[in-house]
Amino acid sequence: MPRVSRRTFLRATASTVALGAFPRALRAQPKTVKIAAIHCVTGPLAEPGQACRLAAQIAVDHVNAAGGIKAMDGAKLELMLGDTQTKADVARAEAERLINAGAQILMGTFNSADTNAIVPVAQQRRVPFLVDISAADPITANVAKAVKEGQQKTQYVYRNFPTGTLFGVRAVQYFNEIFKEAGVSPKRVVLMHANDLFGSNQARGFQAAHKAANPSWEIVEVIPWPEPPSDLSTEVSRAKAAKPDIIAPITRPASAQLLLPEIRKQRVEVLGIVGPGSPGLYEAGQLAVLKEDLEYVMTSVPWPNFKHPRAQKLAEEYVKRSGGKTLDTNSGYSYDGIHVIADVLERAKSTEPDAVVEALKKTSYKDNLMVSTGPIIFNEIGDNPNAAPAMIQIQKQKPVAVWPKEHALAKFVFPRPKA
């Protein structure tokens, strides 16, 4: 047995300690890149939060199976999971916890209020933060403003999800195009929305876009309800009294389960139910509960582009791993989010925050699976102006994209056939 002299032992120990103390400075490249995926997997928004988490896990598996980050010697992505419980203080603590455990990039959170609580953490700790889902405009706009006014040096917060404003613009545009294509001219639209964070953001974006576009149809009444509602019969009677041609609902899954049967029961005669974009109108679970009440319902939501060769395969894998749920808005955007991060790392060739930010700003990612008006890029505010929803419709109990034309898999049925 070779004798180890005290000196060699000491030297070896010292160098190990030095390596441990300066991991990023001295080691050639880390073997893994740690990404924190912080979503609301418990609490009132647990359903979409869980979808985001699963899609991020699948995406990480895909990136790693394809050889990891090639520009970084095949470094593998490692996903660290955080739960906001749909509470802002927990969101902040989770971000800090995961950064402390080594997270180099943050992604999340679905709920805008929680996302905004993580923004200062990202700015303080200089950790790039990709918002996979959250539509409230101020999240990125506020950071961009602080940077512009010189109060912050660098913007670490970027978002690939459409903002509430963008949602509204596209929804009004699709409404107009579909009415024209169908050769009908509805006059009276009743906007019914959940008065929660997401619902009021969407409603505001829709109304603003409507005002700007000044189309031939009018929003004759706006009916907000407290979310979650215990009953919507009065709201629906009010909508019926406004004699609508179109009912435009912005729902959450729970309120959709009340709203649609109520519209049927009260026999509200409309050309169609066309939503400006919200959950609750297309998920497998919702279809199982609402069945025929959802038939022909349209809504303008971010949607996977199933003409993309990988999307169909991913959808099948997602069904399998989620136990029967469908790949849609949230899961799709979280999946794309991880791929954007991988793309950024390939170009940054390091996890140094400012290098990552530089690469983020120059992003032009064309291989995204979601319907869009172009590659994923980030503008001066940090938003992706090419993020776009698609109009989808429930046909034979399956959601299909029906507009814009280049992404449509089927022709829309509008006005909806009389029962």
Partner: protein, 321 residues
């Protein structure tokens, strides 16, 4: 017991400010939240603990303080350092109103709980329907890191502020406890009717407790707003936040000076530990089940609160030694 407690207090006072330089920033955040909830717990303790008037609507005061300071800062450019006092004053005004109605009409126990819940729910619905304060979308504050705007690039600043808030409230309570005010409150909690019979103006003291409690909580609202940067009616006026505020002092021992602090030091780490070990993988919600079970266990084993038990244990040690 005296020198022991004093020694421990001095030790803690010296050690706590030194922590941030020793710990990573996650621990700093954790402690910041422990202090902050300790402070809110202490504020609740005035009326909920000492006076025994259970309020489950303290989120209303926090929300009013938070919205006031945030709106004044963003819309009017008024520094939150002043805004926090205005927010506290408005919260105190609401506290006065609730207290006046509740105490004047003789609501006790569960009825008072419901009155406070009803008021915080009313605040929630109004805030959610008022476009000027952001409606249901909420109010988003720009992170600038400018200390004049109660924002700090270095998270340690929040740590010290939260620590200062908690210590100040605790010292205030320790002082008040020995004054006539504290004695009367305790008497009101034990037997209000007897207290009245003895000629104490119970209404006045309960009102004072309520207003003070609301004021402190409102001041805490400023910290909340400029630490978390998003105010959302469902969150800042919601029942869950009120619950967060009350569980710590109750676990620690309501109506004791150190109860809220001890409770905060017990519960926050429990929540983190539960999340650390049980929030991974596909078992969504497992960590909250564990946390809930721990909460039940704490109640069953410490039905009078942790601090009284702790104090007794310390006293026994002291007499043995």
């Amino acid at each position: 017991m005296k020198p022991l407690a004093l020694g421990a207090a001095v030790l803690v006072l010296v050690a706590l400010p030194a922590f941030p330089s020793l710990f990573g920033s996650y621990a700093v955040t954790l402690f910041t939240l422990i202090f902050f909830y300790g402070f809110l717990g202490q504020a609740w303790n005035v009326v909920g603990g000492y006076a025994g008037q259970l309020s489950a609507g303290h989120a209303a005061f926090l929300g009013i303080g938070a919205y006031t300071a945030a709106l004044l800062s963003v819309e009017r450019g008024l520094t939150p350092w002043i805004g926090m006092l205005i927010g506290g004053a408005l919260a105190a005004a609401l506290g006065g109103l609730i207290g006046f109605l509740g105490f004047r009409f003789g609501l006790r126990g569960f009825y008072f709980v419901l009155l406070t819940v009803a008021f915080s729910e009313i605040c929630r619905v109004i805030a959610g329907n008022t476009e000027a304060v952001g409606g249901a979308l909420g109010y988003y504050i720009t992170f600038t890191g400018n200390p004049r705007q109660f924002q700090f690039q270095d998270t340690r600043a929040y740590y010290y502020i939260a620590l200062a808030l908690m210590l100040a409230a605790t010292v205030l309570m320790a002082w008040l406890e020995r004054r006539r005010f504290g004695v009367y409150l305790a008497a009101i909690r034990e037997d209000e009717t007897a207290c009245e019979a003895a000629g104490v103006n119970t209404f006045k003291y309960k009102m004072l407790a309520m207003v003070l409690s609301a004021f402190l909580t409102g001041v805490g609202g400023t910290f909340y707003a400029f630490y978390l940067f998003s105010l959302q009616p469902n969150t800042v006026f919601g029942v869950p936040l009120s619950v967060e505020i009350i569980i710590r002092p109750i676990v620690g021992g309501a109506g004791t000076v150190l109860g809220p602090v001890v409770g905060s030091f017990i519960l926050s780490p429990l929540a983190e530990v539960a999340r650390y070990y049980f929030a991974q993988g596909g078992w969504h919600g497992a960590h909250l089940i564990v946390y809930g079970a721990l909460l039940i266990a704490v109640v069953l084993f410490l039905p009078e609160g942790a601090y009284p038990r702790l104090a007794r244990a310390l006293r026994r040690r002291a007499t043995v030694a």
